[in-house]
Amino acid sequence: MLITERDQLRSEISQFVKKHGGDRSALIPALQYIQQKYTYISEFAMQAVADELDIHPVEVYGVVSFYSFLDCRPKGRFVIRLCRTISCEMQGKDRVARQLENDLGIKFGQTTPDGAFTLEYANCLGMCDQGPAMLVNDQIFSKVTPEKVHDILQGCRQVFGAHAMQRKEEHII
């Protein structure tokens, strides 16, 4: 990471924490903010949060490692979480899982080499009456079938493509 990027991250964290009261109860919201923006919480970010809250970085790591929606390693732009709880399982989640693996060319727990997708399982998503269900980032998809998997991924790819293009242009400027 470049020095300027680090400085920027530090000041972002500092602003965020101040806005949220500046005490320890701001920790998880701050981590969620970083996670959402950078797809993971780097060691540097953990240290910066710890400094800001005046706690030991191990405390921060302890929290990051506890919650399944916080990660210390980079994730894809789109994190797909397929519900594996019994109601979705009875409605055919295994076939959806296989199709996701086939179409993405990765297994559960992996990220595609282009950094677009991470594939994971989740516990009950609260969509048991409309399974199989999955989350793509914050968006929920219900009654997913193997045929629908392709369209959902294609929708993401279009957004991702636009995003990548935008970045390239920023660099050119």
């Binding site: 005490d23 109860s25 998880i28 919201p29 919650y67 929606f69 709880t85 019994i86 009875m90 009950c124």
Partner: protein, 396 residues
């Protein structure tokens, strides 16, 4: 016959918005507590603690700061009625929280919303903003001097155990979601050490409804020990899955008829931490004194393999145990290994009995409700479906 997830047929849809809050302010704290006590309302999150008792304790506590926390962490497998309330009746739930703030003397409310429901946050923030504009949140609410209350939303981050109230408070304070020893209870030492009431989404919505319709109305529905109405989340092998409102005390049979689940061989009531009810017990009642539940009902048809059900639940607990105490952390792994032996058809009766005894130990020796209830499904499946799970031929 009822239709699933039909908002307009539900009691919540018939409640005039903010009528409850107005009545609460007129009646005063004691009036609200009296009405709740009369109603017999028990917590809709599963544990079934009387709401009036909880609120009385918090109201009586002396402190400059108190908190109202809404538990929207709905993570129990098979439960989705809170998601439905958040989407359809958020205003009523916020009204219930505001009545809570008025009653116990708190100025701050927090909704702990599970990370999986992030897509509902925008809607909830909009409703909160509307309430602020209508002076139903903020300073001197409804013109009552000194009645100040506002609500913020904090997101969970994907941990089932954070639905346990003390783990939830730890999480709000920026800690790992590890349950605390109880006592002290949150009503005494809660968020930041201040008296705090933690209630389920549905509980708050019923509070607002009860203040409008009266404690007597609620008390006369249901059974003596389990009063009133309740929302149920119905999934699995039924014709019409969805959210339903039924009176407490409904029998499993009646419920199955309403949702098109006749012919089921078993029903899991109360989610992964609940009990698996065998067909021969379908005349039993869903009520705190018989089969308790937070509203999760998963129906299993004839073709279902009950061992696969037990395995799915145990995998869930192995993953979601916070790991603080040994009976739960190791116990669930041992039970899961046992299920894998059963799957392969190589578990002796002696070992199965040992596993059951381990399960009973976990029920007593675990620190929080997660570990205490995690063996329930396994134990009830072993008890009722022994002929189905023993002596299997291994699947290659």
């Amino acid at each position: 016959m009822k239709t699933p997830s039909d908002r307009n047929s539900m009691t919540f849809a018939s409640i005039t918005p903010n009528e409850g809050l107005k009545i609460a302010v007129e009646k005063g704290r004691m009036g609200v507590l009296g009405e709740l006590s009369e109603s017999g309302l028990k917590g809709r999150g599963g544990a079934g603690f009387p709401t009036s008792v909880k609120w009385n304790l918090a109201a009586a506590a002396h402190d400059t700061k108190k908190y109202v926390v809404c538990n929207a962490d709905e993570g129990e497998p098979g439960t989705f009625k809170d998601r439905f309330i958040l989407a359809e009746f958020a205003d009523l739930m916020f009204e219930g929280m505001t009545i809570g703030g008025f009653t116990i003397g708190a100025a701050e409310g927090i909704v702990y919303l599970r990370g999986e429901y992030t897509y509902l946050r925008g809607h909830l923030e909009t409703v909160l903003e509307q309430r602020r504009k209508a002076k139903l949140l903020g300073k001197n609410i409804l013109g009552k001097k000194g009645f100040n209350f506002d609500i913020r939303i904090q997101m969970g981050a994907g941990a089932y155990v954070c639905g346990e109230e003390t783990a939830l408070i730890e999480s709000l304070e920026g800690q790992r979601g590890e349950p605390r020893n109880r006592p002290p209870f949150p009503v005494d030492t809660g968020f930041m050490g201040h008296p705090t009431i933690v209630n389920n989404v549905e509980t708050f919505a019923w509070v607002a409804s009860i203040i409008v319709k009266g404690g007597k109305w609620f008390k006369h529905i249901g059974t003596e020990k389990s009063t009133g109405l309740k929302l149920f989340s119905i999934s699995g092998d039924v014709e019409r899955p969805g959210v339903y409102e039924f009176p407490m005390g409904i029998t499993v049979d009646q419920l199955l008829r309403e949702v098109g689940g006749e012919g089921a061989k078993a029903v899991q009531i109360g989610g992964a931490s609940g009990h698996c009810v065998h067909q021969k017990d379908f005349s039993r009642k869903i009520a705190y004194e018989d089969i308790p539940t937070g509203g999760s009902v998963i129906v299993f048809g004839r073709q279902r393999d009950m061992l696969a059900v037990a395995k799915n639940f145990l995998e869930f607990f192995v993953e979601e145990s916070c790991g603080q105490c040994t009976p739960c952390r190791i116990g669930n792994e041992k039970l899961l290994e046992g299920v894998e032996l059963l799957e392969k058809g190589c578990c002796s009766m002696k070992y199965l009995r040992e596993l059951c005894s381990l399960g009973e130990t976990m029920q007593i020796a675990s620190k929080c409700g997660l570990g205490q209830s995690s063996p329930n499904a396994f134990l009830s499946i072993v008890k009722h479906f022994q002929d189905e799970i023993m002596g299997r031929t291994a699947i290659e």
